[in-house]
Structures are given as structure tokens and as C-alpha cells.
Amino acid sequence: MTGRQWASGVGGLLVCLAVWQVLVGSGLIEYDLLPSPWTIAAGLSTLVVEPAFAVELGHTLAATLLGWLVAVLAGTGLGALLGTSPRARRYCLASIEVLRPLPAVAFVPVALLLFGFSLQMELLVIVAPALWPALVNTMEGFAGVPQRLTDVAATFHLSAGTRLWRVYLPAAAPAVLVGMRLSLSLALVMAVVAEMVGNPEGLGYALVREQQALHPDLMFGYVLVIGVAGMVLNGLLLLASRFALPGLFRRPVARWDSA
């Protein structure tokens, strides 16, 4: 983005907030449940200093990261297996295509039934959908490794471990990272969902609690916190992957995918 675009982008945001502030603040729009941006900012500033807030944020982040870790370990492992073996793909792909569109929210009642209100319940709801982006992207990355490279590995009689570490992983790393990033943002979304309709802890529950208590300023505050948490997690992962693989990450690959 050029400087001019940045300026108008910020301008647009400020104009929107100003119009909102003037309409609600001056009483032109009289509506109890829509607070002005200023009220939301005030609510947010009281919110973030409360000790309970740190606990809520910590719970949601812990559930997100734990679920993501499980999903990425299982997803990349299975994806690597399927990506390197055409036969495994042939015998599994249709099952994956059938299971993948299964809407993640539908796991909430099942998870509640099996685990009650607990962290395990959240983890099931997080892992079930977050598995797929990691699995599918890893699989496509491994399957797309150029034949020249695998031929070279075969010619040199490289061991399976060396082949994985020296040939497949470097070539498939960008795709694997894309899968990991999609999984991470999905994991946060699902953690919030699981807390909204299941386990009464964390940011998702706090959001619903403030909605039911008719505290719109605090509710919008939590909405902002959740949005920022998503951006920060995504940014950190991007930073970490640039640091780990400086050469491979020059062209960012973007792929939309969803629950």
C-alpha cells in the first residue's frame, strides 16, 4: 500500500467512527443497545485491567494453542503419509472429502455429551475442524514435490528420514505453513464457539455473558479483544515462519478455506 492509500484507509476508519460517535453520542439515534465508540473504548479500558480478564484470555489462548498443536501434529503427519503415497491417497481421499465438509459446530453437542463442560470438550470442537487445513495442505505440498527431486533422492538411495528432512520438507514447507496458519485461525474461532455454546469459560463465554447481562459496551470490548487476538496469533506465526525459513517465504501463498 502506498502512503496515500494508508492515509485514506485510516481516514475512512476515522470518518466511520466519527459518524457513529456523533449519531449515537448526540442522541440522534436513541438506542440503548448500541454504545458509541467512545463508550466501548471506556468499557474496554476498564475491562483489560480486571484480573478476571487475564484468566479468560489465558484460557482461550491455551485452548486454542493446545488444540492447534494436536491438529497440526496429526494433520501434517497424516498429510505427509498421504502426500507421499499415491496408494494411500487412492484409498483414503474419498473418506476425507466426505468428512471434511462436516460443519464443526455440529460437534458441540457430541462433545458436550462425551466430555461435559470441560477443556476436553473444547479440544474436540477445535481439533475436529482444524485438522483439515493442515492435512490437506501438507498432502498437496508433499504430493507436489517435483519428480526430479524424488528421483534424485531415489538415485542416491537416501534413507527415509533423510528423504523426508532434506527433500520433502524443504519443498513442501510453504504449503505446510499455509495449512498451519489456516488451522490456527480456525482453532481460535472454534475455541470461541466452544466457549459460547459449551464450556462456560474464556473469552467466548465472557462475550455471551455480557450480551445476556445487557452490557453492550463490554460485549463490543470482548469482540475487539477476540479480533485482535486473531490478528496477533496470525502475525506471530507469520513472523516465526519467516524467521525459520527465510528463503522460502518470499512469495506469500494465500488460500481461503474455512470450517
Partner: protein, 253 residues
Amino acid sequence: MNRLLPAWVGLLPLGILLLVWQVAVPAASPNFPPPLAWWHALVAMARAGVLVPAVFETLWTFLAGLVIAIVAGFGLGILIGTVRQVRDWSTLILEFMRALPPPVVVPIAVLMMGFAPAMKLTVIAITAAWPILLNTVAGVQAVPPLLSDVGRSMHMPWHVRVWRIVVPATVPALLVGVRVAVALAIVITLLIEIFTSLPGIGVLMVQGQRNYNSAQVFGLLGLVGVLAYMLTIVFALIEGVVLSRWPPRVAHR
């Protein structure tokens, strides 16, 4: 087509899993009822006359919300994509809205609109419009300069240029956005039903869970899976038909 419908042998792992589940788990298992028990629970709900209306309600909500999202997302996307001032001024707002997880819209809408049917449609339309809008904007910007030059050199008025050149060239990008929106709209529809207990499949799942009727919950999970898979296939077919007749521009991601 091969990519969409992989070899049927690929269904073996799923089939074997269900078969083993059926054979190995006792029929009265409280937590993991076998697949035949799911079927019996579904049949029982259908006999009681609650299943079919719920399925129709969910599908109707999904479809109506999706249609609104497509119209709104595509329209706004064309506007933002073609008018540079609008695009520049809305970049940051769009970036922030994109970063927001879609489910948080549900409590906001419940607070503002209450438990009304209009609330359901609004939430689905708003959340599902985002992928469509963003893909449309990207699609407009990827219109080949040659095409826009043709319009300009023929002195077409603005609206003719948009309607005759930009809109047709953006349809493949729109379809990519809709594919994402379909999956998202299903999730949000179910979430609203689970969250607000407005009628639909989601409510039946919650009821089953509260009554510890695990066969009902698993049966509905299976039903939802089948419905979601069929919707995905139907949409992929529509996408394939449209794209195969579209001007020789290939869909881009």
C-alpha cells in the same frame, strides 16, 4: 471432475470404521451408540414429525441467507473494486472486519435484534458476504487491462462498462467466494440454532444432548454431514457447469 469425485475405494476407511463401530460396540452403549442406533433415532424423530420440518427450516434459512449474501457481497464487491476512492477509503475497515471471527456476530445480532427470524438471515448474510465480497474485489482488480481498455476506447458509459466487462470477467472469482461462503453459511446456520434455540436441526441436537439421547445426537451429526456433503457437491457441479461455458478466462484463486 476426477478431483471432485475421487475413487470410490477411497470410501473404504470410513465404511470399515462404521462397520467396526456397529459390530464391536454394544447397541445400548451410552456414549458411543452404533450407527444402526443412529438410524433408528432418526426414524423415530421422523415418525414423531419433528425431523422433516427442522431440516426444511435449516435448509431454507441457509439458502435465503446465502442468496442475500451473494447479492450484497457481489454488489458491494463490484462497487469497491471499480471505484478507487471507495476502495482506498474502505481498506482498513475491510481488513479489520476480515480479521473478526464470524461467530462473534451472533451474540451482537441477538442483542440488537432479539430472537427474530430476521436476525438469523442478517447474521448469515453478513458473515457469508465477506468471502464473496473480498474475492469479488480481488476479481475486479484482476480483470485484464486489455478488456478495460476496449471499454474505454469504445467510449462505453460507466454502467455499461461495469455490466458488460467487469461483471462477466469477475464471475469466476465470485464462484470461488461462494464456495467458501457455502461452508461458512452452514456453520453459522447451525450455530445460531444451537445458540438461540430457534427451530432447526441445531435445536434437535441440543435437545438430544440435554436428554442424554446420544443416538439422536450422533444420528443428527451424521445427517448434517450428509447434507453438508451434498450441498458441497451440488455447488461444485453448478460451479463446474458455469465455468465450462464461461469465456476463456480460467478461474484464479
